[in-house]
Symmetry: C2
Subunit: 592 residues, 2 copies
């Protein structure tokens, strides 16, 4: 029986982005690697003598997966091609389970009433590490092994910047001791992972995802949060939101669903996601005990970890750093505990008057994660929820515990990142970064914003992008987006896109400021196109070509204005670019 | 005859902002001073025992003028009340001219065909300094005189923060040597103006404007650019845009009109603006020579300065720092000269092969400005238009000239601010601020953004807000907004509002980071309201209450949800604030 109801006729955003061609760059060490990139071809420059000069294409990092390849026919009912399946298989260190290991997973599978919601080609025999084998990218890296995933990532990060002939100039950056090589090699990737300074999230049960890396010495990444809430949205909307978010640049997505059928929703999302998927397993565990945090237990949580690991979730946020002893530190806070996971665990500890089971079982957790190569994102349950609570003792006490847990994960060969705030005024941002690097042994930092003021609800994509750009520059590896609906409601499709673009620009600004070798060229090409009034090229090079085109066309829609030497901002006779260009052409003419 | 046609039935945004009361704080030294502020009254807190505890009102800086006073009946045909007229008169150092001094002004006045466009109560006898008198706020400050304008500003800047009893806590800031007293006194204002570290723009012919101050040791200000372009918009739209921009927080507006009838449009804007108005006189001078820059002359420019000074323009952007010798420095730039004024002057110098008449006549210019107390904003004609051109030799060579000109203005008792970039990646922003302070003797810096990347057209309010928040923190006194239409077209009313709110949040983030005494309380009150689920208070405390309310109501419109302990973002059972509040209430209960 084919999936019906909510999942019938899923509308999925597909097709090439404007002016863009999907290209695939082959591996050198691994011949079957084909790294997807987006090439933006530009129109030629006409110089002051009327000569035509070709402009080099700009190749950009592409998170959109096969959906943006016009040769690919998307079918969310089937899911994406299993890009990494062969690589995983060839390592010969995993085996297929006879059945799902999680009790809950088996129950849901057996429940016929859910058939109409279920992803059709569901995997009843997930992969798991063979006895005695360590299947994490960290374990391989430590053993000196370069995996195909690592070479993929190296090629992907370079964006072919070594092939740029013209215009290529590196902007001198300030990288705060980040080490950014001219060209990233697979060996560099391996070394960064081995050192724990970067992670390559790649659950062996999510072979559809295209390898990517999160680390301070690579491009700054962004995450988009998705997921239905009990108030609204369906599976259909959530799958499209995931594809939509990656279309505009989300490097990972987190499925934070809290409503009904989250197990089935997640299956659809993972099978259709070209990027790593993160979750907060505690949310689902809480659903299982009908929202009563006091009924949570290690057993229920453990089963949830296994259930989700076997579905292919690539990283888990685990709030294991919030200890019982930290709770009194929050009593005089203005906004208490604003992390959902943090609030749940604090409630549990207070009710049972004992240490958090996540903290106590962290070694057990790591052993489970290692079997599937699920990375751990150690949650900051005590992140500040307002300016007044920023950088307080509660926050930093937890951060010290996060560092301690990072070392445990590392010991188990589990890839680890550390979550960070939150609401922090500008002058206190740097301290967050410096302390995190120091306390957590340079494990990648993954922050939510931070928001630099509390007083702009409806604009928190912006209050947070300010903090995100700064902390990204200082060394944060991944920025979790905030939409304009933050504090007010659930984001819709437009909000998700705007949030993604806002964070792409913040991450890119950080890359530029760090002096990342590949970051500069797109700005260069954009500004050259701007100065030469190549309007179409400007739209195509924009992070959001559709919006740029739409805004331009609001006042000057005619086709002729796509090559006009002015726009409606200043009009023909007051365009400074036009005047300046004419002047420079004149001076050049006189000089000859 | 009453003004007709374009100006009939002007729709003007009036009325109180949601949840706000207009209050007037009296002066101490000058009894007739009534400083307008906006008071946001909050609903009470219900504590865990059910007790009702009153929350202190929050008083915020108010730029909206009489329009937001429900007791005021706005009539744009009459213009605003002349708040400062008596103060100016009582100084007895000015006199009324027999007729307009500007030839062009007289011509326009005599042209009957313009009567239908003209502001009705036009002033044919503008004020000018009496012979031998210096009427600038700088001249008064230097002579040790505290003017009513200075006391107004002192009261305004404090926002009654000395009266806040509860919750008042100063966030420790990093102010980079800015000096922020706990309470601003009229004497402090005088001293800052006398030292040239702040300006109080107050043309004696714009008595309608409410005194405000621009300087590093005061709240960071924002400017909104308005003005029709040859492509679109009417007088009607421009007047409403001005009122609209100040309603949402613009501290000054610049009328950058370049179309027809800009003389008449300006008259309407000045008479109806409660904030200082800036212009770029060169734009109008260029209109007068039909767009042919080579026909510009000192005589035409001089007449334009006088024309606009007698209308009441409070500050002029004058691109006098772009010298003939600087032009070769721009030849290898990627985007040449992107300042309109800069491009015009570079063209003039190149055509005539001689030094800029603005540079050569700068002393004459200052003498004219001093007679009306018009401040000069020395334009950065060579500001970088892209990341590739940032902090280059052309930019900094001009900055050195700006410093030289600032000293000349100062000598003539003319209040002076310095304009700054532009497009600058994050790691190069600080250098701009430090050099400006050093080269320009701490004259206030007034920057456009800066934009921290070139690749996000359609989102340049955000790329620029990142740079604006940072440079505001470092010491910039006023931030010129950028709308999302930048590089693409002329902003509409919604774009103007969004640009203003975006810059208010950037300026506020800068104030917070500097540790400004009055900045912290609004964030505190907002977050307290958030934690206590006082939704209406959150909307009222928001920079844009209307949008915050609208977003909330998209998913939960019912009246009951205005007091509900959750929103649609996480839903009832997953609201961390709710869980945390319940937990804290429980712990407090157990402790007793």
């Amino acid at each position: 029986m084919r999936a019906k109801d909510q999942t019938e006729n899923l509308p999925i955003s597909t097709g090439a982005l404007p002016g863009s061609t999907k290209i695939y760059v082959p591996g050198k060490q691994f011949k079957d690697i084909r790294v997807a990139m987006r090439r933006i071809d530009l129109s030629p420059t006409i110089d002051e003598k009327g000569n035509t000069i070709q402009n080099e294409s700009v190749v950009v990092y592409d998170t959109s997966g096969p959906y943006s390849d016009p040769n690919y026919t998307a079918d969310p009912h089937k899911g994406l091609p299993k890009l990494r399946a062969k690589w995983i298989e060839e390592r010969q260190d995993t085996y297929r389970l006879e059945a799902l290991s999680s009790e809950y997973g088996r129950e849901r599978r057996a429940d016929k009433s859910l058939d109409h919601l279920r992803f059709e080609h569901i995997e009843d025999h997930p992969l798991v590490a063979a006895p005695g084998k360590r299947v994490t990218q960290l374990a391989y890296a430590r053993r000196g092994i370069i995996t195909p995933e690592m070479e993929y990532v190296a090629i992907r990060e370079n964006q072919l910047c070594d092939e740029i002939k013209e215009y290529y100039k590196k902007e001198k950056g300030e990288s705060f001791d980040a080490h950014l090589p001219e060209l990233i090699t697979p060996e560099f990737v391996r070394d960064e992972i081995a050192a724990g300074r970067a992670i390559l999230p790649a659950n062996i049960n999510h072979p559809e995802s295209e390898p990517m890396i999160i680390g301070r010495n690579f491009l700054v990444k962004i995450n988009a949060n998705l997921g239905n809430s009990p108030i609204s949205s369906s599976i259909q909307e959530e799958v499209e939101k995931a594809v939509w978010a990656t279309r505009w640049g989300a490097d990972t997505i987190m499925d934070l669903s809290t409503g009904r059928n989250i197990h089935e929703t997640r299956e659809w999302i993972v099978r259709n996601s070209p990027v790593p998927v993160g979750t907060v397993p505690l949310y689902q565990a809480l659903e299982k005990v009908k929202g009563d945090a006091s009924k949570l237990s290690w057993e229920i949580y453990r089963d949830t970890l296994i259930e989700q690991a076997e579905q292919g979730v690539d990283y888990f946020t685990i709030h294991a750093g919030l200890r019982w002893q930290h709770i009194p530190l929050t009593m005089n806070r203005l906004t208490g505990i604003v992390s959902r996971g943090g609030a749940i665990m604090a409630s549990w500890c207070t009710t049972h008057k004992r240490e958090s089971f996540l903290y106590e079982h962290f070694e057990d957790i790591c052993e489970i994660l290692a079997r599937y190569d699920v990375a751990v994102s150690i949650g900051d349950g005590l992140r500040p929820g307002c300016i007044a609570d920023s950088n307080d003792e509660a926050q930093f006490a937890e951060l010290r515990t996060l560092g301690e847990l990072a070392r445990i994960a590392d010991k188990h060969d589990v890839q680890v990142i550390i979550e960070g705030p939150g609401h922090v005024p500008m002058q206190k941002i740097r301290e967050n970064m410096d302390l995190q690097l120091d306390l957590c042994n340079e494990a990648p930092f993954y922050t939510l914003g931070p928001l630099v003021t509390d007083i702009a609800p409806g604009y928190d994509h912006i209050t947070s992008a300010i903090g995100a750009a700064m902390i990204g520059w200082f060394g944060t590896s991944m920025l979790c987006y905030v939409t304009r609906k933050e504090h007010l409601g659930l984001p819709n499709r437009d909000d998700v896109k705007e949030g993604v673009i806002t964070y792409k620009l913040a991450a890119h600004a950080a890359d530029l400021a760090k002096g990342h070798p590949a970051a500069y060229f797109r700005d260069y090409a954009m500004s050259k196109a701007r100065y030469e009034f190549r309007w179409r090229d400007q739209f195509h090079l924009a992070l959001d070509s559709e919006t740029a085109l739409k805004f331009h066309d609001e006042t000057l829609p005619a086709e002729g204005h796509k090559t006009a030497h002015f726009c409606s901002m200043c009009g023909e006779h007051f365009c400074s670019m036009r005047a300046s260009k004419n002047l420079h052409d004149r001076i050049k003419g006189e000089e000859e």
